[in-house]
Amino acid sequence: MTSDVPRGVDAPPDLVQLLTPEGERVEHPDYDIELTTEEVRSLYRDLVLVRRVDLEAVALQRQGELGLWASLLGQEAAQIGSGRALAATDMAFPTYREHGVAWCRDVDPVKLLGMFRGVNHGGWDPADHNFHLYTIVIGSQTLHAVGYAMGVQRDGADAATIVYFGDGASAQGDVNEAFIWASVFNAPVVFFCQNNQWAISQPMERQTKIPLYRRASGFGFPGVRVDGNDVFACLAVTRKALRNAREGQGPTLIEAYTYRMGAHTTSDDPTRYRLADELEAWKLKDPIERVKAYLFKNQLADQEFFDKIDEEADALGKDVRARCLAMPDPKPEAIFQHVYAEPHALMDEEREQYLTYLAGFEGGGER
């Protein structure tokens, strides 16, 4: 059964917006932002490049090179806007869809493919880029972020923590516990909820009866709803929330109102539960097109600029593809590696027995 209410056709109330879908700059009394031409051009570049990486990953999955992919299509502005608001010392805790935030943290996109290709379960050091590992269990990372923020607090560090989750996760116990802990300990954390309207097949009405950002008031901290397809507004709102956190004013819940334009993952078929009209309505609010329109209208970029970005995106896509295909399969002994930090008798025993067993086959048992 499909949902008969195309959601998001009309903008919801209380939406912080600085750039309309038509590319018009609008003012907001609480969240204005000064952006140089260079900054706007570079935001545009980020939006285009992460969409290209995402498209390439979807193609790689369709060709059997990835087992699965969770597309960020439609959520680029929410991720680039919030990601670009982070200071180097801030820490980000993603779900498994934060490819745009990873990009802002300078994480090599190919690193993101490892878990979807099945060569590892994550494969990067969170401390390298202050970007935590992707978390698959819905909402678990919100508590890790609050704990990390409590550590920041104890260290007296000038840093904030941001944690990403979705409208579906807002129903999880861990997310609600995280709200409580952050609130009572006044932890320097920003809860960044990308409300993309759908938790696989379930619309947000199955998760909440009130607008998600209003949940914050029940926990005792501010909540704000931002146009998640407006990269300027996402940047401005997140920047302010992070600053408040660093200055000891505690947590903020940001609801980035956006739309999952693709499937939940490559295994999903959204035509079974939502109307095509809805997607068409949201295409008119595309996060990239409005920045392009703004740059064009205000003569801040010419066709040559856009062509160059497209060329760069194509080259990046090719590079990601080539390095994905070159990713080696791990050796069987990797099953036993990194399970424990210190020597563990059972791991040693099982590894030794299994490698001896494999060595009994011609060619060392490699498949």
């Binding site: 590892n120 994550g122 969170p126 704990g147 550590g151 516990e177 409580i180």
Partner: protein
Amino acid sequence: MTTLTLGKALNEGMRRAMESDPKVLVMGEDVGKLGGVFRVTDGLQKDFGEDRVIDTPLAESGIIGTAIGLAMRGYRPICEIQFDGFVFPAADQIITQLAKMPLRSLGALKLPVVVRIPCGGGIGAVEHHSESPEAYFTHTGGLRVVACSNPVDAYTMIQDAVRSDDPIIFFEPKRRYWDKADIDLAAPGLPLDRARVVRPGRDVTLVAYGPMVKTCLEAAAAAEDDGRDLEVVDLRSLNPLDMGVLEESVRRTGRCVVVHEAPIFTGLGAEVAARVSERCFYHLESPVLRVGGFSTPYPPSRLEEYYLPDLDRVLEAVDRAFAY
């Protein structure tokens, strides 16, 4: 030598750990002002402050989830779960996150989190306060699981657990919290992953851990009257198992009885029995036998004396082992 109860020995061990490393934290429900419902953390908040001994909200998943985040930031949290039966709201964070996150990072991330759980029955408590959930955690790769049985071990094992870079589930036998022993506070303990022969004997190896070690020692003392010399092995570490000590013991005695409070069915005793059988097959005079709880929920306290393995149940199993 200092005479301490098991509870006080844990307290003293945590105190030493906190003194030697400013990154060590204690967190849990009522652990600060109250000193924990069993007073195991008594006085720590007064001496180390509210930033290091954290009275948390009443949310077990939150305790473990935030401890993970604190560990990522370089802290070494000791979490207290108030009672065994209350660990399940935290089971998701323990099993899906704490156990697996280091592997996810290919070893870059270390999570030195200790989860203290008072376990077992025998104190006349209401439902959910007398359980033995160790097998749920020994079945999860990435966790180390240990159980202390006496004040001397409690004192060193808690310090070793805090020093370990691996996440550790630390079981404390709640009905033995008030048992006393003389402790040399300067003496190092046996490494955390080693078993110990606590009573040497020739005829049968009794394998136990946590609260059942004392029961087995009592059984061994009683068996002397029957002319039987029982060896008692305290496993201490439940994952990994110290098979070296077990193998050496059973090869000598030829008989093995495993004792725990948890249900026998798919309990830790099954693992010990299988491994001992594999390694000592030609030395065994009888099958490895098990004594433990029934495959039921823990009974109301007026029935727990029937449920819990005691001296007689252990000796009955010893008799069966000799009947082969």
